[in-house]
């Protein structure tokens, strides 16, 4: 990895300049006089907590919103973007964190909708296949999007952006759903794009990644620019400090955890998926002991969703002893019955799965709390009790919101996630199954959530964490197993779980053959 590409050192004229961008929503200042210069051949990181104004800034650059004050300059010339298509016409492309894909259309159809060109559909499909192959982001143009995993969907977004041959590419948290090898591949792609003289604006929460990849970093806090710095000259801690304006509490591992009896037992679970293109679960066996956190790594779409719904009871297992919760055969029990046994679940999707987006937080507390939290008396809802649950969660997990009981959808991602995780943890579950606990959550909130999981396990609960973030798993897990094509590897102690070893298992290698020499080989698979 070279420090500065040859192009960027030669051409020091900025490609895009944002000067004094200010955006007012009513009386709320989303951006307050933010200036940023993006150079060709340079990867520029944009850092900040949720709500710091990153999205507003990049949406301005992509023509999605008009700034209240300030201007954009493209190659030194003042421009006004009338919309995203105007931005694309100039060579600005963007990959969003939240995918803008039509589930019922194919990959090629989705890409066609995002392009303004006039080439024929067949030619476009061929070019799509070509670009995806060239950049090592394999995609079948004919597959329907709803059947793809989150990781594959993101690939579409990236390829779609690359097909526009952009001069400036904006990426919003692109590695959140990738394996280390996939992320490495993406970094190779990004390095290559940089070498081709393109400018890249890279939004991420992963500070190590930013240090490794980016040439410059601009940090926002509360809508204002705090600093522009060289991430390689900073430490992750110093950048985190600038982001939150205070020290982030380090997640501390608990010492001397008593590992007692398995509180969650999965025995030879095999299950066909609901959807013909879903993943078969094959002979999964696992023991999660009280007092430990067991991490499940794996690339998105390898059966994690199916596994989660088999554990939660959203889908019933074939045999009752497939799932055993605290000694009770629970394979045939409903979600509610499993909750009554002391289990709690946090699904991957915050909106629409973990919460009903258009319902109030108190009602969302009731969503999982009706089973076993004394919120229902004689068939009637105890409203004060649900509000109290909201207040307690808010206090304990520092959930920031505009009023006491807002709709779930009005909370920022990090705050809603704190609410959802907090809602379950405050019930003191004996078994907690969490999927993607900190996906798309800012550093501060992620630290709070991880600490809460560790604290819960140290109080004797069994915690199962399904995550694609290996750093997260390394940070909090005692043991890590890897899910691949619906099978689960033997768990390995976190201390022995190197990125290479896990990466190979995530690529389908068996543990015996998972040696370092094969890294490059498997990464290409």
């Amino acid at each position: 990895m070279s420090d500065q590409g040859p192009v960027s050192s030669a051409a020091r004229a900025p490609l895009l300049q944002a000067i004094g961008i200010t955006k007012l929503y009513g009386t709320f200042l989303a951006n307050d006089g933010v200036s940023i210069d993006l150079y060709p051949g340079e990867i520029h990181a944009l850092l900040g907590e949720n709500g710091a104004g990153k999205s507003t800034l990049v949406k301005t650059m992509y023509g999605l919103i008009q700034p209240s004050a300030g201007e954009l300059r493209w190659l030194g010339e003042k421009i006004e973007l009338s919309g995203p298509s105007d931005a694309r016409a100039r060579g600005i492309a963007m990959v969003f964190q939240h995918f803008s894909l039509f589930d019922n259309l194919t990959v090629a159809e989705n890409v066609a909708l995002g392009l303004d060109g006039k080439e024929s559909f067949a030619a476009m499909s061929a070019r799509l296949a070509q670009v995806s192959r060239d950049y090592g982001l394999p995609l079948d143009p004919k597959r329907v999007v709803w059947r793809l995993s989150v990781g594959e969907r993101q690939r579409i977004e990236i390829v779609r952006a690359l097909m526009q041959n952009p001069k400036l590419l904006i990426l919003d948290e692109p590695t959140a759903v990738l394996t280390p090898q996939e992320a490495d591949q993406l970094f190779t792609v990004l390095e290559r794009l940089k070498g081709e003289g393109r400018a890249l604006l890279y939004i991420s929460h992963k500070l190590d990644e930013v240090k490794r990849l980016c040439d410059t970093a601009t940090i926002l806090r509360g809508g204002k620019k705090v600093a522009t710095c060289n991430p390689r000259a900073e430490t992750a801690a110093s950048m985190a400090r600038m982001m939150v304006g205070a020290e982030i509490g380090e997640v501390r591992a608990t010492t001397a955890r008593a590992t007692t009896v398995p509180r969650l037992l999965i025995r030879d679970l095999s299950m066909a998926p609901d959807d013909p293109h879903g993943t078969y679960l094959r002979n999964i066996s696992l023991e999660v002991f009280g007092g430990e956190i067991l991490g499940i790594a794996g690339v998105a779409g390898n059966g994690q969703d199916e596994f989660f719904s088999a554990l939660s009871g959203e889908r019933i297992a074939p045999y009752e002893d497939n799932v055993i919760i605290d000694g009770h055969a629970a394979g045939n029990l409903s979600v509610t019955q499993r909750r009554k046994l002391g289990a709690a679940f946090v699904p991957e999707e915050r909106l629409g799965h973990g919460t009903a987006p258009r319902m109030k937080l108190s009602e969302n507390a009731l969503l999982t709390g009706h089973a076993a939290s004394h919120m229902v008396k004689h068939g009637f809802v105890d409203r004060p009790a649900t509000l109290k649950a909201v207040d307690t969660t808010t206090r304990t997990f520092d959930v920031r919101k505009a009023k006491r009981d807002p709709e779930a959808a009005s909370l920022s991602g990090g705050n809603l996630q704190k609410f959802i995780v907090g809602r379950e943890i405050l019930r003191e579950p004996g078994v907690l199954v969490v999927s993607q606990p900190t996906w798309g959550v800012d550093a501060g909130a992620a630290a709070v959530i991880r600490q809460a999981l560790i604290d819960l396990s140290s109080r004797g609960s069994a915690v199962l964490v399904i995550s694609q973030d290996l750093d997260e798993l390394a940070e909090i897990s005692d043991r890590i197993a890897v899910m691949f094509h619906g099978t689960l590897s033997e768990p390995i102690a976190a201390a022995n779980a190197t990125r290479e070893k896990l990466g190979l298992l995530m690529g389908g290698a068996s543990p015996e053959t998972a040696t370092v020499e094969e890294v490059s080989h498997a990464a290409g698979a």
Partner: protein, 359 residues
Amino acid sequence: MQLVLEKRAERSTFIALASPVLAIALTLVTMSIFFLLLGKNPVTALYVYFIEPLTDSYTLMEIAVKASPLVMIAIGLSLCYLANVWNIGAEGQFLIGAVTGSWLAVVTNGTGAGPWVLPAMLVMGALGGALWAMIPALCKTRFGANEILTSLMLVYVADLILDYLVRGPWRDPKGMNFPTTASFDPVATVPVIMDGGRLHAGVIITLALVVVVAVMLGRSIKGFEIRVVGAAPRAARFAGFSSEKLVVFTFAVSGALAGLAGIIEVAGPVGVLQPGISPGYGFTAIIVAFLGRLNPIGILVAGLFLALTFIGGEGAQISMKVPLDLTKVFQGMLLFYVLACDSLILYRIRLVTAKPKAA
């Protein structure tokens, strides 16, 4: 310049309440245009439709009599619609309720049976409506059949069953060959509760049901379940609520309420079982449900308003010689406007001046 719909951060409670008012206003404007085109004075016509019925105690009672079945059916339907279950066949459930309830009145006719007959008829009516509603419900949960189509088609089946019975086995032998049963005995008749009109005890049942369903929806876990399944099906499954069981439940309740409304109508204001016992109550109730925000109290108000259009429409037919079908046109228009205005609950309209593309 262009109009864009912009998503709101939170649903607007103000618009949710203002939408039906706006829809009524728009309907009145459109009605005025229609009257002008028909060569009538719109002011007089609107007076006949909406004010005149309120000036007379008999028509006031008639409004309550008409509103009663509308409200009773609509609160049942509101449970379905809140849960994203589309029961369009309340008209059929109404008719079948009238038939199953009337069966008892027919077989006990002239036998001097005791006062148990009427309560038993009401139960039979509710049961009949619920069972009739089970057909689309089970077709949906078992075979995935679209309940909109099946429930709607069953309306016509119900209509023909009623027709067959009153022309065939249940026809009054002394009825001069008219397709009607014999007049119900007093023990099989819903009592009138106020002199000088047809205001009957069924109105009290309707009011009680409004309260019961309001409490059920707002306070009970079942009401919460209905709302979650409708608003976020995946979250509902995660909460442990079965959408299939809820399809059966909401169809059963709405069918029972429609059936109950049917037997009360027959045993009350009509007094015999005959074709044409419903001026489309089951369909108009759909409008009532939406105009009333799928909320029992709102439905009570909306039911009274639509009853007013029925009574006013009859008045207009007599005094202004406008066709009765015009009332149905206006009712349909009202639903159209309500649904259109409802999009403003989640979206706001903004006028955007397109900026010229910078060169």
